[in-house]
């Protein structure tokens, strides 16, 4: 009798496991893994899947994790209008597996993203609309994905939020921004000693030949500078549950640091600007006016160079590197409007 019950259970379970599609409800809470080339990468899917719109967040770093984008208020607004996909890139967050260091590179990670898109379609149906939203380093990886024409045809649109798709332009623009805004703030008498330090450092750099160390220093100063700008407003985050979250923060931090170190040579020299014309899908570029990390000229350049007329650049006047945290409602309006227009 017990064996019969067990067999029946196994048959039903196998049947359910093999079913083609998952129900698209208004409040999905799913977890899938994508296993590709030695890595098992989790993707948490939350939100309104009944709209058939899925927005994959390509997190920053390298070294951050998908669920770190689910602590700001914006996530609950977006999840009412679409299903948000919080994906951990290979080697980061809770992604695990075995592979050599040579298996950690941008083309490989871009391929991983492609297979995440394919897996979502397999799970929820080929008729779902998928958008990619990359922030910071996610703008680098997202751009790498979008300039591959076989990949981009799988998605409905590209949202780049303060992304880093052109490091030489980024470094040059950051130095100029430090000097321009820094000198202006010194003239106004605001935080004079810190700004003097930043401006002096920026002026000491040769923008045509910035080393990895100097790039890291610029990155550090970008966060220092952002904190000095009074126009930038911050909302409180939800508190992160260290011990009861699907994320293990120690794992994530150590893995992230490792990936950041290993991929630094590639990520800190990348320049996709010459290939931006290959992007033919609708694009939305969202940039903070006071982003010293990935300054506005990157957004302007991408807006001009992409190969589509269905594009928009929006500059948040009271934001730094993360407008989703600085101007939450406006940010959400922009993303929701774009997704509804091109779904």
């Amino acid at each position: 009798m017990k064996i019969k019950t067990l067999l029946t259970f196994l048959i039903i379970a196998s049947f359910l496991a093999c079913s083609k599609k998952t129900a698209l409800t208004e409040s999905v809470s799913d977890l899938i893994y994508v296993r590709n080339d030695g890595a098992d990468m989790p993707a948490h899917i939350y939100g309104n899947a009944a709209t058939k719109c899925f927005n994959i967040i390509v997190h920053g770093g390298p070294g951050d994790n998908g669920l770190s984008y689910r602590i700001g208020r914006y996530h609950s607004i977006l999840e009412k209008e679409m299903a948000m996909v919080y994906w951990d890139q290979r080697g980061q967050g809770m992604a695990h597996g075995h592979y050599s260091q040579s298996g950690l590179n941008i083309p490989q990670m871009s391929e991983d993203l492609y297979y995440l898109v394919k897996s979502l379609k397999q799970k929820y149906g080929e008729d779902i609309s998928i958008f990619i939203m990359g922030h910071s380093w996610g703008g680098t990886l997202g751009t790498a994905f979008m300039i591959d024409t076989s990949y981009q045809k799988e998605v409905k649109g590209w949202i780049e939020v303060d992304g880093a798709h052109d490091m030489p332009l980024l470094n040059k623009s950051a130095v100029e921004m430090f000097i321009d805004i820094g000198e202006s703030e010194i003239d106004k008498g605001n935080n004079k000693s810190t700004w003097k330090e930043i401006v002096t450092y920026a002026k000491s750099l040769d923008t045509s030949n910035i080393s990895l160390n100097e790039s890291a220093e610029l990155n550090y100063y970008s966060y220092v500078a952002e904190e000095l700008i009074s126009e930038i407003k911050y909302e409180d985050y939800n508190s992160v549950s260290w011990f009861f979250s699907p994320m293990n923060p120690i794992n994530s931090a150590i893995s992230g640091l490792n990936v950041n170190t290993l991929i630094e040579g590639e990520s800190e020299t990348i320049n996709y600007t010459p290939e931006l014309h290959k992007i033919k899908v609708p694009c939305l570029f969202l940039w903070g006016k006071y982003d010293f990390n990935c300054p506005l000229p990157l957004g302007q350049s991408a807006y001009e160079k992409v190969g589509t007329q269905k594009k928009e650049l929006y500059v948040f006047q009271n934001s730094g590197h993360s407008p989703m945290d600085n101007e939450v409602d406006l940010f959400c309006d922009k993303v929701i409007g774009f997704v509804k227009q091109y779904k």
Partner: protein, 193 residues
């Protein structure tokens, strides 16, 4: 997978077959908290192979060295399920009968099961959906713990330990794992008294 775990258990249990004379043996059942709060349980067995007594300021200090084998499982909700088979050596140091300090080194085989569906990308680019896929890792660990007698007449001790291990090869390197054990140890037999 189950076959692998059974093989490990059998291999480890063979370590104890040469113990002919009666030495201390312990069976422990504990809460196993991966990262403290990801709940699970662990069953472990220890067999002493060497016992030494020393006297310091007229107080007896007893050292026991034991082989150990354990099987543990835990769940990290929203992430994975972990299953660990370990074998190792522990040193127990007790002054009097009340409290025992324990240091243990183990080598483990750790199986990490993905919760949810896994889409496995095939050579031809298609994705095959499977449930409860897993990967195996090595897990060497060091734990420091205490055991204290509940009652003079009862061979039961309260046991707690903090274990720090390294899961490898994890992605391209190694990742630390922290476990908390809290439970009871039952002394099966002893050559003293």
């Amino acid at each position: 997978m189950l076959v692998k775990q059974l093989t490990f258990c059998l291999l480890f249990s063979s370590l104890f077959l040469n113990a002919q004379e009666e030495k201390e043996r312990f069976l422990s059942i504990t809460y196993l908290g991966e990262f403290i709060t990801h709940p699970g349980f662990e069953v472990s067995y220890a067999q002493a192979f060497k016992q030494i007594s020393k006297f310091k300021k007229e107080k007896e200090i007893k050292y026991s060295f034991a082989y150990t084998a354990s099987l543990g499982n835990y769940i990290h909700y929203g992430s994975h399920f972990g299953s660990i088979v370990e074998a190792g050596i522990k040193r127990l140091k007790s002054k009097g009968k009340k409290c025992t300090r324990i240091v243990e080194f183990e080598i483990g085989y750790f199986r990490q099961f993905n919760l949810g569906e896994t889409y496995i990308i095939q050579e031809n680019g298609s994705a095959e959906k499977r449930l409860l896929t897993s990967r195996g890792y090595l897990l060497p660990s060091l734990s420091i713990g205490f055991a204290s007698d509940i009652h003079k007449e009862q061979p039961i001790q309260l046991y707690s330990a903090l274990k720090i291990g390294g899961q490898l090869p994890y992605n391209t390197t190694i990742i630390p794992r922290v476990f908390l054990n809290i439970g009871i140890t039952y002394k099966l037999s002893s050559n003293e008294n």
